[in-house]
């Protein structure tokens, strides 16, 4: 194997490794939005899931406890969002933004507060082991793609599995069908006996929980090192909101979208290396500003958003009642 193909493999490998949290965040937000709620608190929810998941994982030396705690802590954020917007009829945008402010505040409060007592991931064998790559038999021996796609830690596979399950759930189960109806036309769903409040609560909590898993992943990916100035989540929550639109509210497309957004995200880091490895074919990468790669996901999403609104209809994934609260006796 020569050096340049190593760079390429590493680049592709990192597209997956670094960006899987986006998939968690996106799938979580898709479930939330399919219930008709626009939760702008993804960033904060992921941060809460990350820190509590990590701390619980360290305290118990168990990957599973970490995952469950991350899910539960982030799920609580979702529950709070549901309580405020569904039961108390508060504005969704404001509530979501506040979840982010609050979540990040809590993240730093807890992290700073622990100070010297902050646990290092290297002392926690279960987490280190949990984040080690597991080679998929046979497939991982494929050239380039083997290492890039089939030689990852279990949480990568879990993320893809959750996305696939969410897709199946939305399209092939009756609860999924009802959930979509709640997001499209709550009055119609209500009139045939779908319990709107229950559906919203369950999916807002579950959606936030899944975002929390993504946060937990980021904690491990950052080797659990807490920095006072930068949150682990680092804007991934906002990209996830964009990705939901890009993926047209479809969890399977979200996998693809994660790779596309991840490609730009990672290219920004690997541009120099790739240009060096393939000076002939990719030398021009050096000439491009790295910020362009960061901005591209948002630019593409804005274009998609505008294009779909211009075309109207034609099988849109965007739930018709997104962002609107439902009050049955409203006239």
């Amino acid at each position: 194997m020569n050096g340049s193909s190593d760079v390429l493999t590493l680049f592709l490998f990192n597209i997956v490794l670094v960006n899987i949290p986006l998939l968690y965040g996106t799938v979580g937000e898709i479930l939330t939005e399919k219930a008709g709620s626009l939760n702008l608190g993804v960033e904060g929810t992921m941060a809460v899931g990350a820190i509590f998941g990590y701390l619980a994982g360290c305290a118990t030396d168990s990957l599973l406890t970490g995952l469950l705690t991350a899910f539960a802590a982030a799920g609580l954020c979702g529950g709070l969002f549901a309580l405020l917007t569904v039961t108390l009829q508060a504005n969704q945008n404001v509530t979501g933004l506040t979840i982010t402010t609050f979540g990040l505040g809590l993240y730093f409060f807890v992290g700073k507060g622990l100070g010297e007592r902050w646990p290092a991931m290297t002392d926690v064998p279960a987490l280190v082991r949990g984040f080690t790559a597991v080679e998929v038999p046979v497939l991982s021996r494929l050239p380039v793609a083997g290492k890039a796609l089939f030689s990852h830690n279990v949480l990568v596979y879990l993320g893809v599995l959750i996305a696939a399950l969410a897709w199946w759930y939305l399209n092939y189960t009756k609860t999924g069908l009802r959930l979509r109806a709640v997001g499209e036309n709550p009055a119609a769903a209500d009139s045939v006996g779908v319990n709107i409040q229950l559906y919203k609560y369950v999916h807002l909590i579950a959606g936030s929980g899944i975002m929390g898993l993504g946060g937990f992943y980021m904690a491990l990916n950052m080797s659990g090192s807490f920095e006072g100035s930068n949150c682990w989540i680092n804007g991934y929550g906002w990209i996830a909101i964009a990705l939901v639109i890009f993926a047209n509210w479809n969890p399977l497309l979200a996998i693809l979208g994660t790779l596309v957004f991840g490609f730009f995200n990672t290219l920004q880091i690997y541009a120099g290396a790739l240009a060096g490895a393939f000076p002939g074919a990719l030398g021009w990468l050096n000439a491009l500003p790295p910020q362009m790669f960061k901005a591209l996901p948002f630019l593409i999403t804005a274009v998609v958003l505008i294009a779909t609104s211009v075309r109207k209809r034609e099988g849109p994934g965007q739930p018709a009642s997104l962002g609107l609260n439902y009050f049955r006796e409203e006239r």
Binding site: A189, S191, G193, V194
Partner: protein, 524 residues
């Protein structure tokens, strides 16, 4: 032995804010019976039925289902109790297929969406004699298809008590026949059916009994076998009461507003106003009678420039006003006020004060960047005084006022603007006698000043007292223009329900076309 009712409602009351939608209403229906619920729009039929389907909860009163006292908290409860309702405004998810819309509420076939669900639905539909494509998306469906889907949906859920809110309004004659055949079959199978309608011929054709509502109260029930169109009409619109409304005689001018061959579509795309012609002279009040919801709203909106028209002409003092902006029409002196059922929907900004609402149409006329609140307040004070509006102050938000006072604010503003054509729809909706008379006086004063008034009304007695002429609409078509003081309530009632058509009574003078028309003056 006492008969068991499928549904029995006793003493139901329901208020929306200060408006009483149902006052002590009682109603019952037996299994194997079709009950027609008759009444004008706004008489509280739909509200009453929504309490059976779990959309609203009654403020007081009891509901018995199969003899058991029950509280229906939600549509889920209603479904479990075997109550199914086909709403007038369809409750369908547009992006779903027909089958999926039905599958939403299915509770028997397990948690997965079966591949064969379309076939199941198709077979079910065929069994009941309906023909639908289960895979068709709702947004691709015609209105009648959506209606059919709603009915199939209810049947699929196995409802024993079926409520249909104006099911025939959007169906063709053949489809109505099919629907009635289905209803009769279901009746034979022991279903209890409540059908809301105001088409008398259908009531007589399909129902066993008729329950009649007027202004939120139940008027009584008659067996269909003993009912005639006259009897039902009389009950529905109320007995003739002697009202002493002034109708001053005023010298009439040439037509101010002429409508010729006007066709308008409603929001659903159906024809709301169908080749209608009429004219209004200065110094006269032209009443528009008709069962509510047969094009009045669309007509008012079209004249005010708020709704595009399909065909036809609208000529004001010899000028074509078709295609003009609402503002340009206002400036011509045509004022429109429409009191919708919720009373606040159009014409007023409910959170703003009386002063601000006074300024709504003329705030732009003053010079400078500021709103002239002083004149607004003066106008508000004047209107409050003249129309005896009860309010804490001129700065009270309109939504805090009681219904009658809200209406006076709206009408007062319209009159203050000094229009030459005044279009007013339901200005006395929900008002007590005293306030109503105040409003009639206002209109009569305008009439004496030479204003042409189009009065869209509900109460026939009032219209016969107040108006000079009455135009009768039935499903968007003109049934005739009659002299208000020469006609009878029975005649009007028959025309409103489509049983009597006087539109071509005089061969030499078609209804609604003035002899001294100014239309010829208009450039084509």
């Amino acid at each position: 032995m006492e008969e068991r009712y499928a549904i029995e409602m006793r003493g139901i009351c329901k208020n929306f804010g200060r408006v009483a939608a149902n006052k002590n209403v009682s109603l019952n229906v037996k299994p194997g019976e079709i009950l027609a619920l008759l009444g004008e729009n706004g008489s509280g039929k739909t509200t009453l039925m929504n309490m059976l389907s779990g959309i609203y909860k009654p403020d007081s009163g009891t509901i018995l289902v199969n003899g058991q006292e029950t509280v229906i908290h939600s549509p889920e409860d209603a479904k479990r109790l075997g109550i199914g309702m086909v709403h007038q405004h369809f409750k369908l998810v547009d992006v779903f297929s027909a089958a999926d819309n039905i599958w939403l509420g299915d509770e028997h076939s397990g948690p997965l969406l079966k591949k064969n669900r379309c076939d199941v639905i198709r077979q079910m539909a065929q069994k009941f004699g309906f023909d639908i494509d289960p895979q068709k998306k709702v947004y691709n469906m015609a209105v009648s298809e959506k209606q059919t889907l709603e009915i199939i949906k209810v049947l699929y859920y196995g409802a024993k008590i079926i409520i249909l809110d104006e099911p025939t309004a959007v169906l063709t004659v053949q489809e109505i026949d099919k629907l009635f055949a289905v209803l009769r079959r279901m009746k034979a199978e022991g279903h209890a059916i409540i059908i809301i309608t105001h088409k008398l011929n259908e009531v007589l054709e399909i129902s066993d009994r008729v329950a009649i509502m007027r202004r939120g109260e139940s008027i009584g029930t008659v067996d269909t076998a003993q009912a005639t169109e006259q009897l039902l009409t009389e009950r529905m619109v109320g007995r003739k009461v002697t009202l002493n409304i002034d109708c001053p005689t005023v010298e009439k001018t040439r037509p101010l507003l002429e409508i010729r061959d006007l066709t308008i579509r409603n929001d659903e795309g159906a024809t709301a106003i169908d080749h209608v012609s009429f004219y209004i002279r200065g110094g006269e009040i032209l009443g528009v009678a008709g069962i509510a919801g047969c094009g009045q709203k669309e007509l008012c909106e079209a004249i005010a420039g708020l709704r595009p028209i399909e065909t036809g002409m609208m000529i004001h003092k010899g000028d074509n006003i078709v295609g003009l902006s609402p503002k340009a029409i206002l400036e011509k002196g045509i004022s429109m006020s429409f009191i919708p059922e919720d009373r606040l929907g159009m014409g007023l900004a409910p959170s703003l004060s009386i002063t601000d609402n006074m300024l709504l149409k003329n705030y732009g006329e003053t010079k400078g960047p500021f709103v002239d609140r002083k004149s607004g307040r003066a106008a508000a004070e004047q209107v409050i005084q003249e129309l005896e509006i009860v309010t804490p102050s001129t700065e009270t938000p309109v939504r805090r006022l009681s219904g009658g006072n809200v209406q006076k604010v709206l009408l007062g503003r319209e009159i203050k603007s000094g229009p030459n054509v005044l279009i007013t729809a339901y200005p006395v909706r929900g008002l007590d006698i005293h306030s109503s008379y105040a409003i009639y006086d206002i209109l009569n004063r305008q009439k004496k000043d030479g204003v042409g008034i189009l009065f869209v009304g509900e109460d026939l007695d009032v219209m016969m007292g107040l108006c000079d002429k009455i135009l009768v609409l039935c499903h968007g078509k003109v049934m005739g223009v009659v002299h208000a003081h020469k006609t009878t309530k029975e005649e009007l009632g028959l025309m409103m329900t489509g049983a009597l058509d006087l539109s071509s009574k005089y061969a030499d003078k078609p209804a609604g076309i003035a002899r001294d028309s100014r239309i010829e003056e208009v450039e084509p």
